[in-house]
Symmetry: C2
Subunit: 220 residues, 2 copies
């Protein structure tokens, strides 16, 4: 369903009319506050955000976001459902973008700033992040990493490095330039990189296979 | 060797006196510009930064950073050496913190801001990032991810989300509070989390085994 509040306000009461009183009503929205969707429902306590990570058939983590009136029973039932199909539920409070996208956009802001400034090229950046950060964070979370490194060390480095990081609220000039040229990514045959249709198929299949193999290594 | 410029200025000329004229002199420094170290050398063109990622025996990525006078031959020889022992070299320009740490600190800034504000607890944050971002970025780099999602989509979301992200130059209040309590991480038996000595041993061994298994899955 498109991310339009009017549309959600139209269908959620229809859902309520069709289901029993205890049925959980979950929305995958990433842009609309759950509290606003629940506002037109008779039982707002059973409305909850259930945000899948893209690509949803491969990333086994789902953000569970209660609105202001969502009951603990609804949060628990949703988390239990996620666990039952082998995914990891993460409960968080409502915030613009939700946690995963905020962190991803913070990463992209700094990455693109480094590319905009010519510090590193896109290929080098991807190699650096895949092996230096992705690989590490797949096994060790950021809070676990801080405890490993030592909070005093983080404080010493962060005190000079944090003020030097990008604080831009704008979208990178590299990205805006590419959009102006009509280069929107894989779907137009090129964005930051160039792609033939055959390469796109091979990349999709190769990445999916790698994700499956890594998940087995992480959970096995 | 400690991260002190005077010390490096003392030993680099000693190294030069001991080796042949073509020998590359590399430093693992992450805090001192290579150009400054090379300034006291007779052949600054052979001085280069070679920054390992922590833990260095497990993370197969090394940043190669030429100073202002470093020759292309020195950069090439260093990259080739890295490739020969099976690691991935990434060449980048000099910048405070280098690329990997800048991106890591940008991640930590946003993560800790979300924890400081009570949006998510440390356990949930780690679970979210391990599966939602680490796992994904281990396979698909940030630039590749942008091309997959579509640069127009990134522009649309970034236009409202980027201005909402943390821009703090300060170190998180959660971290400063823990430091005040003497909780510095694993080395003091507790930081963000608590640890017994047995748990620390088990965590270290478990994480190392997982990193090795994931690397095999990524490279296999």
């Amino acid at each position: 369903m498109p991310e339009k509040l009017e549309l959600k306000h139209e269908v959620f009461p229809q859902f309520e009319a069709a289901v029993g009183p205890d049925t959980v009503l979950a929305s995958n929205t990433s842009g609309i506050p759950i509290t606003k969707i629940a506002a037109v429902c008779e039982r707002p306590e059973r409305v909850v955000g259930m945000h899948w990570s893209n690509p949803p058939h491969l990333i086994p983590m789902i953000e569970v976001i209660p609105g202001e009136q969502t009951s603990q029973a609804t949060v628990d039932a949703t988390s239990e459902l996620v666990r039952r199909f082998g995914y990891h539920p993460v409960v968080e409070k409502e915030v613009a973008g939700f946690v995963e996208n905020r962190i991803l956009y913070a990463i992209l802001r700094e990455c693109l700033d480094l590319v905009d400034r010519g510090i590193i090229d896109p290929e080098g950046l991807d190699l650096n992040v895949r092996w230096g950060i992705g690989y590490k964070l797949a096994v060790i979370g950021p809070m676990e990493l801080l405890d490993m490194a030592g909070l005093d060390i983080y404080n010493a480095v962060g005190s000079y490095l944090n003020p030097d990081l990008s604080t831009s609220g704008e979208v990178s000039s590299t990205i805006r330039g590419l959009i102006d040229e009509g280069r929107l990514g894989m779907k137009t045959g090129g964005g930051i990189y160039d792609y033939t249709p055959e390469q796109i198929d091979a990349l999709r299949a190769g990445r999916a296979a790698k994700l499956v193999a890594v998940r087995k290594a992480l959970e096995g």
